[in-house]
């Protein structure tokens, strides 16, 4: 289990204030900032301040540890700065581009760390409760671990949706902009994601006994 930098986690993984949606900024204002940053890299600072929290939150929930989240966040913004002169506005928000960079870096990270698939404790948000109710905390920790393991099994798009929704507190419109889908499609996808996750959790909690394969009626049809 990766506990690297465990001394920093409790203070580093600070929960953002409740009910504080991270609203997307005004498009015109953002375009002006991007154009300015293309000419003058110093102006990139404003874009950085605007997006660092949500990019960090996304990465943190994908890698589950502070050190790697910080490293990948830094690399995301350095790469964005490097490639900003070639950035073209194609209608999607600037944050979609940043998320894409972060997504690629996280995918590379997972590829490089594919042998150590685990959900470290530091990602389980149990800090306050552990001292007060240790038994309940352990139970909840186990529940969260199970949940995260099931989330990790979801298709990428659905996993990202949950992180955008709960981790970054983005609205459906904002998530739709990032994922190039309509608001209605995001709602449906969220519902389907919950249903899939419920199935996955049921499967994990109540696995079929060995040898009880699919019956003749359940067997998938195979085409000749």
């Amino acid at each position: 289990m990766n506990r690297g930098g465990s001394g920093r986690e409790t203070s580093a993984q600070r929960a953002a204030p409740e009910s504080q949606p991270l609203a997307l900024p005004d498009d015109g204002d953002e375009r002006a900032l991007i154009e300015q940053a293309k000419q003058d890299p110093q102006a990139f600072g404003a874009l950085y301040q605007r997006y660092v929290d949500r990019i960090y939150a996304y990465i943190y929930h994908r890698v589950h540890n502070v050190q790697d989240a910080e490293d990948l966040t830094a690399r995301t913004f350095v790469r964005a700065l490097e490639h900003l002169p070639r950035y073209q506005d194609r209608g999607a928000p600037f944050s979609a581009w940043l998320y894409r960079i972060a997504h690629n870096l996280v995918a590379n990270w997972h590829r490089d760390h594919s042998r150590r698939r685990f959900i470290p404790l530091e990602g389980l948000s149990l800090r306050g409760r552990a001292a007060e109710e240790p038994e309940a905390a352990v139970e909840q920790e186990e529940e969260h671990r199970l949940l995260w393991e099931a989330i990790e099994q979801l298709p990428e798009e659905r996993r990202d949706l949950l992180i955008y929704k709960f981790g970054s507190r983005l609205s459906n419109v904002e998530i739709g902009q990032l994922m190039n889908r309509s608001e209605g499609a995001i709602k449906s996808l969220y519902f389907r994601t919950l249903a899939t996750l419920r199935q996955e959790l049921r499967r994990r909690l109540d696995p079929e006994p060995p040898g009880s394969g699919p019956t003749s009626q359940e067997k998938p049809r195979t085409t000749p």
Partner: protein
């Protein structure tokens, strides 16, 4: 083969026009359930007024089939908490970005490649032109043999 088989008849599709079997589609969703679960997520995120919350709870009472999904959403909201980076990290990265001088793209690509390429790739990379030369030499020799030159 009977050519009549391929004579055109209105509405007939030739073999190359036939559609491949469609992949299984997901069943249609219960729109009320989708709306209620979505509203419940907004409630969890603190984006619902007290009045809407009462209405929602009343409607969820009438849908016990959604209880499991809403409980799962609550567990998700507890497990996927918003996080923010430490201030020291934020400030340090902001400073590093301000001091950063973007390199040219080729230079950056080369540097990235050099830093990431493992040591064993060097002899392989050096061996590729040699192998290509050898292959070209063998091919030319064979050409000479077959043409009698």
């Amino acid at each position: 083969m009977n050519p009549r088989r391929f004579l055109y008849r209105p509405g007939r599709r030739f073999p190359w026009q036939r559609e491949s079997p469609r992949p299984p589609t997901e069943p249609p969703l219960d729109t009320e359930a989708v709306a209620l679960v979505e509203a419940h997520a907004r409630l969890l995120l603190g984006q619902l007024s007290a009045q809407d919350e009462r209405l929602l709870r009343a409607r969820l009472e009438a849908r016990p089939d959604l209880k499991e999904l809403t409980r799962l959403a609550e567990a998700l909201a507890a497990a996927i908490q918003p996080v923010s980076p430490e201030k020291a990290f934020r400030d340090d990265l902001a400073r590093r970005l301000a001091e950063h001088h973007p390199a040219s793209s080729q230079e950056e690509t080369l540097r990235a490649w050099l830093s990431q390429a493992p040591l064993w790739t060097w002899p392989v990379a050096a061996g590729v032109p040699v192998m290509l030369g050898l292959l070209a030499f063998v091919w030319l020799r064979r050409q000479q043999v077959t043409t009698g030159l």
